[in-house]
Symmetry: none
DNA sequence: AACTTTTTGACTAATATTGACTTTCATTAT
DNA sequence: ATAATGAAAGTCAATATTAGTCAAAAAGTT
């Protein structure tokens, strides 16, 4: 696919592990060395690709014996997570953030591929392209929250 | 066909690749260099010749390892019926009119019950409740049109 | 001439990479 | 115990690397 940049490659590496096990525990510096990049790049990958919007929870510890642990959460049987997502959305959300949420819902089989695609075009940048970017993000938030609330009822 | 200008030549080049593979992934600057034109000309070619009406969808990413991906999609049989609906919608539509459209698409099995319901909450009055009713109807029209365009192809 | 399409480039936006500096925690020395 | 040291991970801002937008200029058509 599009494995051009290092971040994508690291993402893929971690997700491949997470496909089998429910959780990974890494040492930041080791992974950095493995992929020949600076340690903070691992943070970048985590912050952009392993957020709660993506369906992951990350915990870490500093100091000697430190680690970063990434765990996949399930959105179906965890209704609280849906509410957390609604909180995260608040009153505005960018498309890329929204995309991550929809993708997570698809991966957890809350949405079919087609349902996810229809929602995505509905909240696409071009669709909601109005005078002000804040307006765009506000409308998107409202649509998304309406949909998430609907999903709480008939799954 | 008549390869006079650069845009036509680039179009032909890309379509030749797409005749074999289902999708192309390019680097904008590379193609620009290959055809000795400015990068933004690639955008022009894409915007004028690789639209959904022509049966293509385009996705891109900026930043390091960025790309433009063009994929050929097969338009469904009644794509022009959807085009007619899009014409009817124009640039604004009330909820009740939109409801009728969604309902008829459900009756024609273009949409499942759940898909229809999700679309309906997305374009509901309460979701799109804004200061001005005309703004509400305009946003609804754009969302609906995006969805209808998406329904023109599957996958 | 009027109109449409194409070409160009300056400016903008998004995403990724890097490194200096900070914080936290565990272990060792006093 | 407490302090000092070192070993992690975190933050943040600067820089780099792409693609997108828009409108003016140029070229082509009618």
């Amino acid at each position: 696919m599009q494995g051009q940049n290092i971040s994508d490659i690291i993402e893929e590496y971690l997700k491949r592990i997470l496909a089998d096990t429910r959780q990974v525990e890494i040492k930041r510096s080791e992974i950095a060395q493995l992929f020949n990049c600076v340690p903070s790049q691992i943070n970048y990958v985590i912050n952009t690709r392993f957020t709660i919007q993506n369906g992951y929870i990350v915990r870490s510890k500093r100091g000697g014996g430190g680690y970063i642990r990434i765990a996949k959460v399930n959105l179906i049987n965890d209704a609280d997570v849906l509410d957390d997502l609604i909180d995260v959305i608040g009153d505005n959300i960018s498309f890329s953030q929204a995309f991550q949420i929809i993708q997570s819902l698809f991966e957890d089989s809350v949405l079919t591929q087609k349902e996810a695609n229809l929602i995505l075009v509905a909240i696409d940048r071009r669709t909601l392209d109005f005078e002000d970017k804040r307006v765009e993000n506000a409308i998107r938030a409202r649509i998304l929250i309406s949909i998430l609330n609907r999903l709480k009822y008939d799954g």
